[in-house]
């Protein structure tokens, strides 16, 4: 156990430096784009004079030299202050917290469903490699993977929402319906079906293919033959012997994707009009809302670092041959 504690503490110390370096890099990255928030707002207003732009730059602190702005930003970052969006007139932290529930309910649900479904389908396909069910799963997976995600979303809307009228096309709730309790939950769940399916299909395709390929490699190994020779039931061979050995690449990719869940999905959130973090980020780019953008980058980088650490720990749980080394 102290071994693990040492490992974790060392990784956390490293992580702090990585995140600070990322923050500095992000700062220069967002400032490298042409134009600034004052220019955007002048463009939106449809009228401007010199004073208008000057006032905005002053308010946003853009009239200060860049190194000074960096200093202000970094001193806030180390105090865990994400700054203030002058455009939206709210602290960035509040903006993120507003959007987080929607994003997580979308991405987490899609992720979990995709992981379970993908591993199950991949296993099924691999164990029946060469049969019609394998072909069907592979073809569906490949199609889901190769089709642009927004197009799938629009087609699902057309089918289930416009033509059949079964499911709402966008939003997170029936606005103005005034549902409470169980009804409100059901209403929200209904609104999530189409976006979760769209996003989940894409993830699922990835896991299906990974699992299938990985199992095909493992299923003919000697220890599997031994297990069969021992007369173990087939389900036990698959779940304990094959899957446990084949799952590592899936965990690697899942860990990587889990780190990005918090970033949301720009396309899904746009097509289904969900007020999530992906859209917030996308709009912040267009509006050059530096503080919001930096806040999202920072949050995402923290989560990615944490999930990388978790992934390493899970490796050693799943496969005891892998040890954590400080």
């Amino acid at each position: 156990m102290p071994r693990i504690a040492l490992f974790i503490s060392q990784r956390l110390v490293k992580a702090v430096f990585v995140i600070l370096a990322i923050a500095v890099f992000n700062f220069f990255l967002v400032h490298a784009a042409p134009g600034d928030p004052a220019a955007v707002m002048a463009g939106e207003a449809g009228a401007a004079d010199a004073k208008f732009v000057e006032q905005l730059r002053q308010q946003f602190g853009l009239d200060r030299p860049l190194y000074e702005q960096l200093g202000t930003y970094m001193s806030k970052v180390v105090q865990a202050d994400l700054g203030y969006s002058y455009r939206q007139q709210r602290p960035v932290f509040d903006l993120l917290m507003d959007r987080l529930p929607v994003t997580l309910s979308l991405t987490l649900t899609a992720f979990v469903l995709a992981l379970l479904g993908g591993v199950a389908l991949g296993t099924l396909a691999a164990m029946r490699a060469g049969t019609w069910s394998d072909t069907a799963i592979t073809v569906v997976g490949l199609t889901a993977y190769a089709t642009p995600i927004f197009w799938i979303g629009l087609m699902l809307i057309l089918l289930f929402s416009v033509n059949l009228g079964w499911l709402p096309a966008f939003g997170t709730e029936s606005i103005g319906a005034g549902y409470t309790g169980w009804d409100a939950f059901l209403d929200r769940a209904k609104h999530l079906v189409l976006p979760v399916t769209t996003l989940g299909l894409f993830y699922m395709a990835v896991y299906t293919r990974l699992t299938r390929a990985s199992i095909l490699e493992v299923r003919d190994m000697d220890f599997v033959k031994t297990a069969r020779a021992k007369g173990l039931p087939e389900w036990r061979i698959v779940s304990v012997h094959i899957l446990r050995n084949a799952i590592l690449p899936v965990i690697t990719v899942a860990g990587f994707q889990a780190g990005h869940l918090i970033g949301g999905s720009i396309l899904i959130e746009t097509v289904f009009a969900l007020p999530g973090i992906g859209r917030l980020a996308f709009e912040a780019v267009l509006q050059r809302d530096y503080q919001v953008l930096l806040g999202i980058f920072l949050l995402t980088s923290v989560v990615v670092v944490v999930f990388n650490l978790l992934t390493d720990l899970i490796y050693s749980l799943v496969d005891p041959r892998i040890e954590v080394a400080p």
Partner: protein, 536 residues
């Protein structure tokens, strides 16, 4: 043209008749609330989502549409751009055109219950808007003094006459802001900005960022019995295809401006549940053009710019890119606004004439058939403009001019155009009902200001035009102004400082159950106090 006018006159007559009939009816049979029933919820698209809703601090298009229900101006404007009473019940202009006196309605209240008085008007126009609103700053800096004669009378004294002064009192040009909330504060950092307080028929209830803005009926509204609707939801739907679906499904009951992409318009027009109108944009009367940087070769040559006018088929643009919305533009003033001059040099679509002009200017065809090369920075405001860019490239190729398309996003576009780092671009600006407010700024040389968007970014300079525009603004005699503006328009059309494309029209789709949505020249930005829902 004449057809449009006739239609216009018919509508006016009908409106007058309806008004004449409605008034006595309502008085004589109070028990039978025939058509204008209370109740109903309207869902309206708002796109893009406004940053804040305080109209005095932000005048972005979507802000105007939402905040126009919360805040009010002293005046509003009919389709003919004549002023109509809003918070001012009457007004007087002195014969020398320098003193404007407004009598305010006496029973208007802010949403927090405080009375609306002349002091709010003085504070808004002389303090708050002077600080925060570029257009209002330009207008009210022409005032020598602004004073409250009593609680319900305001007087503006101008340094010299200014023709379109009344136009400056439209709600987005001069929204009335509450003095008791803003006086002595840092306007932009005032915590009250999160909960806007106006005098309008709808009150701010809730804003679920990224999703919807909820306004509810103001029960204390100063017009008795109004508004009719219980509440309005402004829904944020960022994807254009999803917006079209929302209209088809009836999830939303209104869209405006650019909400619906032009290629979706013909399809939605055929829907049984909605009606489309292009009225209600007369006050804005946008005009689109190819912005030309006249500092750069070969664009500094007038003949080259004239050739562009002949090379581009504006009718094609209207029919095939804007799907029939708009009218080919003939000059700098939109024909639905005041002081339009039809008798100007005509640029019919004629590639041969264009080539002749290019030859004359010395741009001979090279070995590869190219006369000149220019860059075109495509305006990043939706797919339609991208298609326009592709068309212009083709059309110019036909007369031997090689156009390179450049793309950027909104921030990059403003940055490059306002700093004169472009050859050609697109642009469209609102005209605000009078050339002195919306046209002059584009062409006069004292508005050549680097770093400022929507100024004279082309660098066009003609002392004669400067003189004519200056004179025309300084008088309030319409006949005199018409002469001066006509002269200016003739010169401009000859000089082609920009290549005008379309007098733009926007489609407003309204659910057929909702009536009175578009009743004035500011259309969807109106207060909606007379909008009602027919329940079946």
């Amino acid at each position: 043209m004449s057809n449009r006018l006739r239609h216009f006159r018919q509508t006016l007559t009908a409106a007058a008749l309806a008004a004449a009939l409605a008034a006595p009816l309502a008085l004589t049979v109070p028990g039978v609330a025939a058509a204008q029933e209370r109740g109903g919820t309207m869902n309206i698209i708002v796109q893009p989502e406004p940053p804040i809703l305080v109209l005095g601090l932000n005048q972005q298009g979507p802000t105007q549409t939402v905040a126009g229900k919360i805040y009010q101006g002293l005046l509003t404007f009919g389709f003919d751009l004549k002023p109509q009473p809003e918070l001012a019940e009457s007004w007087e202009v002195s014969p020398d055109g320098k003193v404007y006196t407004f009598k305010l309605v006496k029973n208007a209240k802010w949403h927090d219950g405080k009375p609306f008085t002349a002091h709010d008007v003085v504070f808004s126009t002389s303090k708050l808007l002077m600080e925060t609103h570029p257009r209002a700053r330009a207008t009210f800096s022409k005032c020598e003094k602004i004073e409250a004669l009593d609680d319900y009378t305001v007087q503006f004294t101008l340094k010299e006459p200014f023709g379109p002064f009344l136009q400056a009192f439209e709600v987005s040009s001069a929204p009335m802001m509450p003095k008791h909330i803003y006086e002595g504060t840092d306007f932009k950092a005032n915590p009250a900005n999160a909960t806007p307080i106006g005098t309008g028929p709808f009150k701010f209830k809730e804003w679920n960022k990224g999703s919807y803005i909820h306004l509810v009926r103001n029960d204390e509204y100063w017009k008795a019995g109004k508004p009719y609707l219980d509440d309005i939801y402004f829904r944020v739907i960022p994807d254009a295809a999803s917006r079209a679906v929302a209209v088809e499904q009836g999830t939303v009951q209104q869209t405006q401006f650019n909400d619906i992409e032009t290629f979706d318009v013909p399809r939605l027009k055929g829907l049984p549940n909605v009606e489309m109108t292009t009225k209600g944009y007369e006050f804005f009367a946008p005009l689109s053009w190819i912005e030309i940087n006249t500092r750069n070769k070969p664009l500094d040559d007038k003949r080259f710019r004239q050739a562009m006018m002949h090379a581009i088929d504006r009718k094609f643009i209207r029919d095939k890119i804007w799907f029939g919305l708009g009218r080919p533009a003939t000059g700098p003033v939109n024909s639905v606004t005041r002081f339009f001059e039809p008798n100007v040099r005509k640029y019919d679509f004629d590639p041969k004439k264009a080539e002749a002009l290019l030859e004359e200017a010395g741009y001979k065809k090279g070995a590869d058939g190219t006369r000149a090369k220019v860059r075109l920075l495509v305006m990043p405001y939706g797919e339609t403009w991208t298609r326009l860019g592709e068309y212009v490239k083709q059309a110019m190729k036909r007369v031997g001019v090689d156009v390179t398309l450049e793309t950027t996003d909104a921030a990059g576009w403003v940055n490059r155009v306002s700093n004169w780092d472009y050859d050609l671009s697109f642009n469209f600006v609102y005209q605000y009902g009078d050339p002195a407010l919306g046209v002059t700024r584009t062409y006069v040389s004292d508005n050549i200001r680097k770093g400022v968007m929507f100024s004279n970014t082309m660098g066009y300079s003609n002392p004669e035009v400067d003189q004519l525009f200056a004179q025309a603004a300084q008088t309030n005699k319409d006949e005199e102004r018409q002469q001066l503006y006509s002269a200016a328009q003739k010169i401009l059309v000859e000089d082609v400082p920009v290549a005008w494309l379309l007098e733009m029209e926007f489609p407003t789709f309204v659910d057929k159950r909702f009536k009175n949505a578009v009743t004035t020249a500011i259309g969807v930005n109106e207060s909606y106090d007379s909008v009602y829902m027919v329940k079946k």
